[in-house]
């Protein structure tokens, strides 16, 4: 400590601090705090880290385990879309796409017709799987014109109408095995495909030489139909059963051979699963289009500002101070409770009795009778001194039974009136009730005034 100047702290809360800072000599110091080194209650950052290291490590471990387990379970679950080229789930088609890529085919995963337009060339193959029927007839026709070879998986009615009007639905195949039976090269290489699944029919087969049906099961049920467009020369292959291409089934039977045969010949393949982006947009521009770009960052900033404000106002200025509070019991609680009991039970007579006992004692004192005076004596004296009939006094003080609250009030008033009349007649200025006593009595021989005994 180099400088030991004493300053007067500017303390708004202490108006008395303007006086000198010198400790007054008359004051007793509570000495304990005079030590030179003050201990610090707040732990340092290092001490805090050391103390709570177990919890820090535990929480990090829990988060790590959660992330890892989420990644593992996320891979196993069928979360991706069916036949999605990047989905390793059983319904996806990542296996097929990867194999095609290894064979040197450029596979483009497209989500919208715009992307297909950009990716597809004259020599491309397009695979279309439109499970939700997003595309309309015009878009389908345009798609068929984009590439030389189009493979439509599980075609909808609309797709059939647009691409192959002569082909209809054939129901579910009941054959136990589906074998190659036509001149399509890919079908011949495959020899067999997975049995069952949807089929197509060609009602007037002979009238349409450009339509070829393969993997027939029974009459007029085909699991693959190839249609050749006579004007453009484009080939459309319809595969009603999507299972041929998915990860789960592609390795069975000749599925892989069929898929690779259909998709592999050209250098580039567009794997097209239509999404909402293909639906034509209608109506006015959305709110998101109209708001300026800075709105979201400003909202984010406001959230952060609120967080900072919460820390600013919420950070505690040191630990809480404990305070032991005193018990608060009002002494008159028992009296109030008893009064409520009387009122709830309509105990009129009992209440009146209490009032009467008190009155009789005060009357006895007023007329100069002792504590042990008989009731009849008190009644007689009171009647004599007030000049009223003893029977009337007796009625008020003893006999009358209140039948209603109104009578109770009336009797209580009569009691008070009787006390007042008695004390007036006795010539004393005593109030109907003695106030709590203890004015200093000048007479030392008699005890100071106080409440009389009954």
């Amino acid at each position: 400590m180099t400088a030991t100047r004493l300053h007067i702290a500017a303390d708004a809360a202490a108006p008395g601090s303007a006086e000198s800072g010198r400790p007054e000599s008359g004051r007793a110091e509570s000495g304990r705090s005079g030590s030179a080194v003050t201990t610090v209650a707040t732990p340092t950052l290092r001490a805090w880290l050391h103390r709570s290291s177990f919890w820090i490590i535990t929480s990090i471990a829990i988060v790590a385990i959660a992330i890892v387990s989420m990644l593992i379970s996320g891979g196993a679950q069928a979360t991706g879309r069916a036949l999605a080229g990047d989905s390793p789930s059983p319904a996806g088609s990542m296996a097929l796409v990867e194999v095609l890529r290894e064979q040197g085919v450029t596979v483009t995963l497209a989500d919208s017709l715009t992307e297909v337009r950009a990716a597809a060339g004259d020599n491309s193959t397009v695979l279309l799987y439109d499970a939700n029927d997003y595309l309309d007839a015009d878009q389908l026709t345009e798609l068929a014109d984009l590439a030389a070879h189009t493979v439509v998986v599980a075609p909808s009615f609309l797709a059939l109408q647009a691409l192959a009007p002569t082909v209809g639905f054939g129901g579910v195949s009941e054959a136990e095995s589906l074998s190659a039976d036509c001149s399509v090269p890919a079908v011949n290489r495959a020899e067999q495909i997975v049995p069952g699944g949807d089929t197509l029919s060609i009602p007037q087969k002979n009238a349409h030489p450009l339509v070829t049906g393969c993997f027939a099961s029974g009459t007029d049920k085909f699991s693959l139909v190839q249609v050749e467009n006579d004007t453009t020369g484009g080939i459309v292959t319809l595969v009603p059963d999507a299972r041929v291409f998915n990860n789960e089934n592609v390795s069975g039977y000749g599925n892989a051979a069929l898929a690779l045969g259909l998709l592999g010949p050209s250098d580039s393949l567009v794997w097209y699963l239509p999404t909402l982006a293909d639906l034509p947009r209608t109506g006015p521009p959305s709110l998101a289009d109209l708001t300026p770009g800075w709105v979201t960052p400003v909202l984010l900033l406001l959230v952060l500002t609120t967080l900072a404000a919460a820390v600013w106002r919420g950070r505690r200025f040191g630990p809480l101070v404990s305070e032991n509070l005193p018990v608060t019991v009002k002494a008159s609680e028992t009296m109030e409770g008893r009064a409520r009991l009387y009122a709830r039970g309509n105990a009129r007579l009992r209440a009146l009795d209490a009032l009467r006992v008190g009155s009789v004692q005060r009357l006895a004192r007023t007329v100069g009778l002792g504590r042990l005076a008989h009731l009849d004596e008190v009644i007689g004296s009171v009647a004599a001194i007030t000049g009223s009939a003893p029977s009337e006094v007796r009625r008020v003080v003893v006999d009358a039974v209140p039948a209603s609250d109104a009578q109770l009030v009336a009797l209580s008033d009569s009691l008070q009136a009787l006390e007042r009349a008695t004390s007036r007649a006795a010539g004393t200025a005593t109030a109907p009730h003695p106030e709590a006593p203890a004015s200093a009595s000048p007479d030392f021989d008699s005890p100071p005034a106080e409440r009389m005994d009954p």
């Binding site: 900033l301 209440a351 009146l352």
Partner: protein, 435 residues
């Protein structure tokens, strides 16, 4: 570590650059990121430049005791032992009942400097009020972020009972002095003591003429008497559960303190020996063998720490406690509460043991609310209240009669009147020579 309002404002100020420089979402997000980085960098810089609150040493100066209702200055000396200039807010963490008010103060401390922080305390309750810690929040030069540490700086102050009833003391002392040298009303009882002889003046009691002295002198001489001295007064305080009840928002115990202090002050002026005992099931406070100024200071000191205990008073142990204080005849003042007959059986059962040897006065607080309720009878509910109040007063009267039958004296009065009434009773007993 903590933030300031200035920092919050600075964060919010980022709206301006985001709106000005961010027409598209990407640009605005970039500006937001840059602003946050800037703000965090400023805050960290500020924190790094703030002086360490741990380098502060604290010294506390406090008076040891204060009477309830008076103010006292608590002084805190802060010394900055660090190398940096400390800009801090200091919180002196007194208990709320110490009445410290706004206990935060701004302090600027250069390296090695020492400053005083004065805090005016107005204690709200009797007893020991404590402070354990001082929290120092040291802000950086920019006032954005600050460091905070809590330092141990214990202190305690004993808040004594207020002794409001001392205003009655001068009048009672003068009345006590009037007893000196009185002959006409004084009866030569066993308690009064012979003082001196003086000449007869008209009006003196002829019974106090000393004939032998008259024969020796040629004048009629009378003996004068003075009140007895060096008697013992034992004040016994009931700190059991009934003493916690509040009458006029004051616990019965505090009224009993007032009465005990006034009586002790008066009795020590009158030359009597006063012993004080606060008891419920064990001794909560005891003052024995003190006299003069030491008596009162020891009494208030022991009273300061006494709180009503929520247990039943052990009356059976009281005669033994009294015997341990004195075996001579004494005036025993029992400050307790007289309620229902059932609650007072303990007191009644041991009272005869006390009255056999001693003069006993039982003093109790009477609730003025009860007396008021007994007279207010304007409606149905008020009449039921009056009936209940009347019943309570009857209970008190019945117990009082029982106490009188056992040979003790009873005093009931409202909280404001009990201390002077007890003093008057003491003077009356002294005048009667019954001590």
């Amino acid at each position: 570590m903590t933030l300031s309002g200035r920092f919050v404002f600075l964060v919010a100020l980022g709206i301006v650059p985001i709106v000005v420089f961010g027409p598209t979402a990407e640009a605005a997000t970039g500006v937001l990121g840059a602003w946050l980085l800037l703000v965090l960098a400023l805050g960290s810089l500020d924190l790094a430049l703030a002086a360490s609150p741990r380098a502060v040493t604290v010294q506390r100066m406090l008076p040891a005791r204060v009477r309830l209702g008076e103010t006292v200055t608590s002084e805190l000396y802060l010394t900055n032992t660090g190398r940096r200039r400390l800009l801090a807010t200091v919180r002196d963490a007194w208990q709320p009942s110490a009445g410290a008010g706004r206990n935060r103060s701004r302090v600027v401390l250069g390296p090695g400097e020492r400053r005083r922080i004065a805090l005016v305390l107005v204690p709200l309750r009797r007893g020991e009020r404590r402070v354990e810690q001082v929290t120092v929040r040291s802000s950086g030069p920019l006032g954005l972020w600050s460091r905070q540490a809590t330092l141990n700086a214990p202190g305690r102050i004993r808040v004594l009972p207020p002794f409001h009833s001392r205003k009655h003391l001068p009048s009672r002392i003068s009345r006590l002095k009037e007893l000196d040298g009185r002959t006409s009303v004084m009866v030569r009882g066993q308690g009064t003591e012979f003082d001196s002889l003086r000449e007869y003046v008209r009006g003196d009691d002829v019974r106090s003429i000393d004939w032998r002295a008259t024969a020796r002198r040629n004048d009629v001489m009378v003996r004068t008497w003075r009140p007895e001295r060096d008697r013992r007064v034992v004040i016994l305080l009931d700190t059991g559960r009934t003493s916690a009840a509040r009458v006029n928002n004051e616990p019965r115990l505090d009224t009993a303190f007032e009465a005990a202090l006034l009586l002790a002050a008066l009795a020590s002026v009158a030359g009597d020996r006063v012993d004080f005992l606060a008891f419920d099931r064990r001794v909560r406070g005891r003052v024995q063998g003190a006299s003069g100024a030491a008596l009162l200071s020891q009494m208030v000191d022991s009273m300061a720490m006494i709180e009503p205990e929520l247990i039943e008073m052990d009356w059976a142990a009281v005669p033994g406690q009294v015997r341990s204080i004195t075996s001579q005849h004494a005036l025993i003042v029992v400050l307790t509460s007289i309620d229902a007959a059932g609650a007072s059986t303990g007191l009644l059962s041991v009272l005869s043991q006390l009255t056999k040897r001693h003069t006993v006065v039982v003093a109790s607080v009477l609730d003025p609310a009860t007396v008021e309720a007994a007279t207010a009878r304007s409606g149905r509910d008020e009449i039921y209240r009056a009936a209940a109040a009347e019943r309570a007063l009857l209970d008190v009267a019945r117990v009082s009669a029982a106490i009188r039958q056992l040979g003790a004296d009873v005093l009931t009065a409202s909280p404001a009147q009990l201390p002077p009434a007890l003093a008057d009773r003491y003077i009356a007993l002294k005048a009667a020579g019954r001590l």
